[in-house]
């Protein structure tokens, strides 16, 4: 999308010069500010005020003294955190879970889009697309409920199948070694279909003349997929990859809270679940806020780097 603001002429009056007084601006545009003000106030109250509250990461926060009056302690909480095995483990788990989700989960929607592209029967295509998009719209509590039911030790279908094949039932959700496969698999099952939409849109943008001339040259569908479709959507693939890498610290911790238990913390506990337990359940607000600040700064750096990278790559920024 081009930046239309440079092309469009100003509506009612000429743009205000640098020296113009605020009063004149307000006189002319007060209605716009009335429209904008609720949004600005909301942002200040609900998103920027908590940023001010982040200072408790450097304070010995007490509920009675409040944020401003609690005494400063410098980097004490960060020192505590980096000497805390659980926090180190949480960072490691976050990165490992994200890495495997990316490695296994990233190609699936691309593959799905390529498969959908080959289907000529529109009714089949529409029906199957409708089905694979569905889990995206289902709450994680429900998805987790289904996972817990399916992997239950005696009643679950997975163990029924294992027993039918002569194996011994496994209590999957209490086994640290099973947590990541189940979590990552659930994520792919829930999101891959919906994520394929982006690639389908990219494929829809490929010029039909490319395929027409390939047909004239006698190319097979398989060849066209490799020689035309995939190279054409490569920029989209790279952009999506950069976005995913930028968001590598964003593990869907809501789903983890729903699926993990003390027995699987070893492989399941990520930074945000650590924060949730220490802060919201344990009341150690200052320590948990420090962990959150560390996470937010790392995430911000990654996202900015990803944005810069994609800007260079595509000459358009992501958002």
């Amino acid at each position: 999308m081009s930046d239309a603001s440079h092309i469009k002429p100003a509506t009612k009056t000429a743009p205000i010069s640098r020296g113009a007084r605020i009063v004149d601006v307000l006189k002319r545009d007060w209605q716009l500010y009335v429209m904008l003000l609720p949004t600005i106030i909301w942002l200040l109250l609900f998103l920027y005020k908590p940023m001010y509250g982040l200072q408790i990461a450097f304070k010995d926060y007490s509920v009675f003294r409040g944020i401003a009056n609690s005494p400063w302690v410098g980097f004490e909480h960060f020192e505590t955190l980096f000497n805390n095995d659980q926090f180190i483990r949480a960072i490691r788990n976050t990165v490992v879970i994200s890495f495997w989700s990316l490695l296994i989960g990233f190609p699936v929607p691309i593959l799905l889009a390529l498969l959908f592209n080959e289907v000529l029967n529109q009714k089949f295509k529409k029906t199957t697309q409708t089905i694979v998009y569905l889990p995206h719209f289902i709450s994680s509590v429900i998805i987790a409920g289904i996972v817990i039911a399916a992997f239950a030790p005696s009643a679950g279908i997975v163990n029924t199948a294992i027993r039918a094949l002569g194996g011994d039932a496994i209590y999957f959700l209490t086994k640290p070694e099973w947590f990541r496969p189940i979590f990552i698999g659930t994520g792919i099952w829930q999101e891959a279909g919906f994520q394929s939409i982006v690639y389908l849109a990219a494929i829809a943008g490929v010029s039909p003349t490319l395929y027409e001339s390939a047909v004239v040259d006698g190319a097979s569908r398989w060849q066209m997929m490799w020689k035309i479709t995939i190279p054409s959507i490569l920029p989209t693939i790279i952009i999506m990859l950069i976005i995913r890498i930028g968001n590598i610290l964003e593990v869907s911790f809501e789903m983890i809270i729903l699926l993990y238990q003390p027995a699987t913390y070893e492989t399941a506990d990520v930074v945000n679940t650590f924060i949730y337990r220490q802060g919201l359940q344990g009341g150690q607000y200052d320590l948990a806020a420090a962990a959150g600040l560390f996470n937010a700064v790392m995430a911000f750096t990654l996202v900015m780097a990803a944005n810069a990278l994609s800007k260079r790559y595509s000459r358009t920024s992501l958002w």
Partner: protein
């Protein structure tokens, strides 16, 4: 589109292979839902024994009868509707005028205000400061807290702003000639032209609200105010540990498994009803989602 008859035999095999793989994926997407529905309609004994695979065994509505007899189920169901409808309306009341103002090229400080919105997408204070802020604002255990506290999402604002920006200025000239003010221009010119974008944002809000769980769990302690998702979570987490409940099951046709499954089905049904309606818009929504700063 190319006619299948023009395909070589090899191409035909390839296309059928693709359709086969898609079918496998679609069926594995569908199966867990069928499985849960089958459990919800089976007797507790059969479900507990792991005998339910595809269709209900010993079909019974006992689990549903148990669920609809729970007062908490209806309270939380009602609350979910309150949060979804109230929360979506709240969001739109903020987002639509805000995005419109930000889209005006001559808005003073436009770059600054836009950056202020975009920054919230890159940097987040985190769970603890947000929670403490909600507590300090007195918004714990409050309907208003849930509806107001999550009203604006930077992504939605920018999506709508970009759509407004792309509308040619010429559309509003007639209205301006008639002396329309900004509110009238937004209401009579921009909103009717932006139906797909507004529908998309509405869809995002509705889906987010209906599915919202984490903050509802953290901010709401009062059982009278929790939404369906939190209730469902409590049932899953507590029912199986509740010896009193488990003890009463011995002579019942339902079990922990079937009751949980029944609640899951009950909370999916509204999504399924609205799903065809939703689907009409989200393809467009994803396209609009390719936004820029």
């Amino acid at each position: 589109m190319t006619n299948m008859n023009l395909y070589s035999p090899g191409d035909k095999v390839f296309v059928y292979l693709c359709m086969f793989l898609i079918s496998v994926f679609a069926l594995s997407t569908l199966y867990p839902f069928i499985y849960i529905a089958a459990i919800s309609l089976s007797t507790g004994f059969e479900a507990r024994a792991g005998n339910v695979v595809l269709t209900p065994v010993d079909t019974t509505l006992a689990a549903y009868e148990y669920v609809v007899a729970q007062r908490e189920f209806w309270v939380s169901y009602r609350n979910t509707f309150i949060y979804t409808i109230g929360g979506t309306i709240t969001s739109l009341l903020f987002i639509i005028p805000g995005a419109y103002a930000l889209s005006r090229p001559h808005l003073y400080g436009r770059r600054f205000w836009n950056l202020m919105v975009a920054f919230t997408m890159w940097f987040n204070a985190g769970l603890i400061p947000f929670f403490l802020n909600m507590r300090d604002l007195g918004l714990l255990d409050s309907y208003i807290g849930i509806m107001l506290g999550f009203a604006i999402n930077g992504f939605n604002v920018i999506l709508l702003r970009n759509f407004f920006e792309a509308i040619p200025q010429s559309f509003e000239e007639a209205a301006r000639m008639d002396g329309a003010n900004e509110f009238q221009v937004l209401w009579k010119v921009y909103m009717p032209l932006s139906k797909p974008a507004i529908a998309t944002v509405t869809l995002f809000c509705v889906v987010g609200r209906w599915n919202g769980f984490f903050w509802a769990m953290v901010l709401l302690q009062d059982g009278e105010k929790i939404p369906l998702q939190v209730y469902l979570r409590q049932v899953i987490a507590q029912l199986s540990d509740d010896e009193e409940f488990t003890a009463t099951l011995l002579d019942q046709a339902y079990s922990v498994e079937t009751v949980t499954a029944a609640i899951i089905v009950a909370s999916i049904i509204p999504v399924l009803i609205f799903y065809p309606f939703i689907q009409k818009y989200f393809n467009k929504g994803i396209m609009l989602g390719g936004v820029k700063e």
